[in-house]
């Protein structure tokens, strides 16, 4: 069983919003984006078009946990960016996913 780090545990308890939350963090990893750009970016990178209900359910949770923060904007579309905590949580989650992927591929190679 893989051990979870403290940062990795920041993304726990998101329920059905776990995957959208992770995709949002990945989308924000290369810079701030507003809701619509995130949806388009996620559709390109993961082939999933998040509905607005799912997108803002995940955004509200990420913001409440301090993993992302809104930037001031004069536009109606508020951009969001990763916080330091969000960056660490994303790194930790991606590391653990890569460890699982490497183990899976190694086992398949020996199967």
């Amino acid at each position: 069983m893989m051990r979870k780090t403290k940062d990795d545990a920041e993304l726990d308890d998101f329920g059905r919003f776990s995957e959208p939350a992770l995709l949002i963090l990945v989308s924000l990893a290369d810079g701030p984006k507003h809701g619509y750009s995130m949806t388009e970016d996620i559709a390109t990178l993961a082939g999933v078009r998040l509905g607005p209900g799912t997108l803002y359910g995940a955004l509200a949770r990420l913001e409440a946990r301090g993993l992302i923060e809104p930037l001031k904007s004069e536009d109606r579309r508020n951009p969001y960016r990763l916080t330091d905590l969000g960056e660490r949580a994303l790194r930790a989650r991606l590391d653990s996913m890569m460890a699982v992927a490497r183990t899976g591929q190694r086992r398949l190679a020996h199967a």
Binding site: G35, G51, A60
Partner: protein, 166 residues
């Protein structure tokens, strides 16, 4: 489609309403989108603490929060099972109401009775959740009276508002 924003709690709309509306306006209407927005609205009603935690409370908010906490401390204790049942009753009610709204909107577009149903649905879902959670231990007569009476009174009020407005 942006009328669906009214299904979300006022505080949520205040925080995310504008940007949510922009994203929603850019999407083509579909049953999947309606379900997604409805599920999001139910989630926002069931987890208000997610919106409460993201802003510093003002002086007025602090008083309101203190009163809310006092009421919550004295309120009935709900078991996880009670909450689970109430959640599922609310979700299925939301789906049934949405299906009814879509059907009626197609048949009687713009009718005051249909508009009243749309406005009624958000507070109705909140009432359904509260009543199914807190009145579960009461007799079915009490439940039927409180829930049926509450829902009917709310619909009558919304209908009156729509008829006056139109």
């Amino acid at each position: 489609m942006t009328w669906m924003l009214r299904l979300y709690p006022a505080r949520w709309r205040q925080r995310y309403g504008e940007e949510f509306g922009t994203v929603l306006a850019g999407r083509r209407a579909s049953p999947g989108l309606v379900l997604d927005v409805l599920a999001g609205a139910i989630d926002a009603h069931l987890h208000p603490q997610i919106q409460l935690s993201e802003s510093q409370p003002t002086k007025g908010d602090t008083m309101t929060l203190a009163m809310l906490l006092r009421c919550a401390a004295g309120g009935p204790k709900l078991s996880p099972q009670d909450k689970k049942i109430a959640r599922w009753v609310t979700i299925w009610s939301a789906l049934a109401i949405a299906a009814l709204e879509i059907g009626l909107a197609k048949a009687f577009r713009g009718a005051p009775a249909v508009m009243a149903l749309v406005y009624w649905s958000a507070p109705a879902l909140s009432l359904i959740y509260e009543q199914t959670a807190y009145l579960r231990q009461r007799s079915w007569r009490t439940q039927a009276f409180v829930l049926g009476g509450g829902l009917s009174a709310m619909y009558a009020f919304m209908l009156a508002v729509c008829m006056v407005k139109l």
